[in-house]
Amino acid sequence: MKKMLSNPALWRGVVSIAVFLVLWEIGARSKQWMAPEFFAPFKEFLGAMGFKKDYLPWIGAVPAPSAVLDSWTAVFVDASYWQSWYMSFFRVMSGFIAAMLIGIPFGLSLAMSRVAHGIGFPVFEVLRPIPPLAWVPASIIFWPTQETAIAFITFLGAFYTIVINVLGGARSIDVRYFQAARSMGSSRWDIFRRVILPGTLPSIVVGSAVGMGITWEVVVAAEMISGGGSQIGGTRGGGLGFFIWLSYVGGSYEQIVVGMISIGIAGFVSSELLRWGGRYATPWLKAR
């Protein structure tokens, strides 16, 4: 603990966030001391360019961090806010874990078998460029519940990245390792277990980290589009994406920002967990 507190990187982080919050607060409060006349010329100019005359994008229109904090403490005791957290996390994790469970073996078999590559890769490459969100309508029709539809889309978000990384990682293992293993009497299974798997592990970690990021993007968007999986638990089961959507519909700018920051924190926490797991799984990489 003491060591952590004396870590300059930690303090730089704290200062960076503090400065950001202060600038944001000042910016948001600028509406209190800046006279509306000040903006008149700009408004004329924007009006001439076809914008609505009474609207000007400036930071004064954004709620201040203090206001956001107020709104946050209000929802903090609200069970539906935490329900949203839980739902989004649950969807991200189920989609992500499914992507790992299917993607890693799939990627490895593409890398190891010419036949599997010949059959599986062309289809994979045609489907891959389709963004996960383009799957939303089709999967809502296809899957029996909204929930499975969202889980499927989240799964897609991570799946392609994981497969591509596993495939690339397994293929780039130096041929010398295989030659050395074979010379020393390794069986095929032994080579798989002790050369291919650990050799691919760093790429699996990287692929998962990227995949996790995409999963959060996808889940939030899917929740907004699909109306938040309203079949289970109505408005309470909507997840963080739907939380933002509801706040927008309800006209609470502060609460929108609360939702956004919540997603930021959730994404950060899950990447951090993943990084920690990755370091644990590949101890030889940090050992340089």
């Binding site: 030659q179 050395a180 010379s183 020393m184 990489l285």
Partner: protein, 289 residues
Amino acid sequence: MAESKITPKVIPGELAVQGVSKSYGAIHFRKEVVHDCSFTIERAKLTVMVGPSGCGKSTLIRLLAGFEQPSAGTVTLDGAPITGPDRDRLVLFQETALFPWMTTWDNILYGPRARGQLTKEALEFGEFLLVKVGLQDFRDKYPGQLSGGMQRRAELARAMINNPKVMILDEPFRGLDAMTKELMWEYYSRLYEENRRTNFFVTTDIDEAVFLADRVLVMSNIPTQVRAVIDVDLPRPRKLSDLVESDRANDIKKQALSILHAEAMRSFSRGSKAAADFVEAYLKRASRA
């Protein structure tokens, strides 16, 4: 000595290369790398192959190891044709091939573990080799944490635990700094003098060849063939100072250099830019010797 109890008995092997050619590429782009090449790697001797860079030494090693098959001719170990890689012929590659994800100790034990022979004897022998290569303090370190010289020694131990009939080393000390390299020469020749296995060592460095070898094979340019076989009858154990002071060592060096020089001139006359650089480099060296 305790050593003889731990070190298992192995009968060293003899490798024979007879009329071997090796080409790469499809018909019109065919490139012959080895042409009608014959030599033997004698039992319980340290044979060093010197040849210009890119002449096909690593290609020959891949044939000896069994990773590839010759286009023509035969490669045999004690009379039996080589059909694939096997632990009786282990190779130390030009670049380190230690598994980065295993500690020194797990790397050394790779062979016995792969064959399901992780016996008490194997562990004892591993322990003995670890000390022998001076890495007992680096037992649980990963290859990325070892220096270049240490990596090479760990790799030697990893190969020796399998008791190969022939040890094959492809420019193992290339890329080490001059000091480490000389230490590795001394270290490696002590190791060889102690166990007298069949060793085949490939290099581009004449000093290295003369210091280590019982026999030196001097190779031609690509497509490669043996140009000369020189017996290095310097007494063992050898000292680094012999390399400059001993007349015999200098004679051998000059002999080998003049062949390599002639090789370079031959391809130079065929108008190769690479050969021109090569001639220049060797002329400089010869004038210094």
